[in-house]
């Protein structure tokens, strides 16, 4: 296989892995030529796909370039292609870990408004602040609600406490968290 064709295939694989492109078949049909039919290309494509996927599964930093090289040689991958594969594995385009896997909805947008009530039908001087929040979630739902000032303090306190716990968790050495 020519290096140029191989590189095109590999970049197609990476696009699919990174979620930039969902269709591998388009890439394949564009690359068909006299020596390689689509079936052959599909075999190489899926092989590369599994290879990179598996290599990437290791947590960041634990996979050594030398070991990957040896493993690829063992698989009888032509030496000329190894640097390219290795580069693809370690490129580790920092895809957001939150975009894969199951998860609760994320907060995609928060709009808020701070009101101070002046008078109401039952009190001529109220002067009580309230907050209106509109939360847009990543699942497309929009929630509108009011936050009385006491509840706002509760919310802020809880988020701060949670944030602190999270920071503590990340600095605890025994857990060896990579962020």
């Amino acid at each position: 296989m020519e290096k140029e064709l191989f590189r095109k295939l590999l970049s197609g694989v990476m696009e699919v892995i990174d979620g930039k492109s969902k269709e591998g078949s388009n890439i394949l049909s564009n690359l068909v030529n006299e020596t390689h039919n689509e079936e052959n290309l599909a075999i190489v494509f899926s092989g590369l796909y599994s290879l990179v996927k598996l290599a990437r599964k290791h947590p960041h930093g634990t996979l050594k370039q030398q070991i990957l090289k040896e493993d690829l040689q063992e698989l009888k991958i032509p030496a000329a292609f190894i640097p390219d594969i290795s580069a693809a594995v370690f490129s580790s385009s920092d895809i957001d870990p939150t975009e894969n896997g199951p998860s609760l909805p994320r907060l995609s947008n928060l709009q808020w408004r701070l009101d101070v009530a002046i008078s109401t039908s039952s009190l001529n001087r109220v002067l009580e602040p309230t907050i209106n929040m509109e939360m847009c979630l990543s699942n497309g739902k929009i929630h509108n609600f009011e936050v009385p000032i006491a509840k706002f303090h509760e919310l802020r306190y809880n988020v701060a406490a949670l944030l602190k716990e999270m920071e503590d968790l990340e600095t605890r050495n025994i857990l060896k968290i990579q962020v």
Binding site: P97, P105, L110, K151
Partner: protein, 199 residues
């Protein structure tokens, strides 16, 4: 302060009824009324209780209704103007209420004013209100395409009360990474700064 009460025929009639009430029972009636003053859709007494009251106070149904409404009105007005006790006393006396009844109303008002005004202040017209906040911190250990990961994630649950429908308590559940949570906290901090700027 402007005049809280104007003498209308129905207030005149109510004053006559109130003056005839037994002195010992009247404060009890007032105390129930003020307890329920901040509730929008609730009457101070149930139908059963109203029937019993008619007997103990020796009032006709219509008169009892008038007495209750008028007392509610007095207290509502006092709350609306955040009336000082002397002012309330003076204005009630102008309606020709007996002194012991004026005392009872003023005492009820001074005893509970702070509480009532506080409750009325927090009364809003918005149906949905934030009620409680719960959270949970997790450490993600693995995922289908990621082994041995160590990724903290934060879950937040916001309980939203819906006034229109008691049973329909909504829960908003959210998940955050560290960065996302930090961004959210910063937004809350911006709101806090605005609140601090108010006073």
């Amino acid at each position: 302060m402007s005049l809280m009460f104007t003498i209308t025929p129905s207030i005149k009639k109510a004053v006559v009824c109130i003056n005839e009430l037994p002195e010992s029972k009247f404060p009890l009636v007032l105390s129930r009324i003020i307890q329920k003053l901040h509730l929008k859709d609730e009457r101070p007494f149930t139908e059963d209780e109203e029937e019993k009251l008619q007997k103990t106070l020796e009032l006709q149904e219509a008169d009892l209704e008038l007495v209750i409404h008028t007392c509610e009105f007095f207290l509502h007005q006092a709350a609306y103007h955040s009336a000082k006790p002397q002012v309330l006393r003076q204005q009630l006396q102008q309606l020709q209420l007996d002194d012991n009844k004026v005392d009872a109303i003023v005492n009820t008002w001074t005893g509970d004013a702070r509480n009532v005004v506080e409750k009325l202040r927090s009364r809003t017209l918005s149906a949905k209100k934030l009620e409680d906040v719960n959270w949970r911190l997790n450490l993600q250990m693995g995922q289908r395409d990621k082994s041995k990961s160590r990724q903290p994630n934060a879950m937040l649950e916001l309980g939203i009360n819906n006034d229109n429908d008691e049973k329909d308590k909504e829960k908003i559940r959210l998940e955050f990474t560290h960065d996302q949570l930090y961004a959210f906290y910063n937004q809350l901090q911006t709101i806090q700064n605005q609140i601090d700027g108010l006073s």
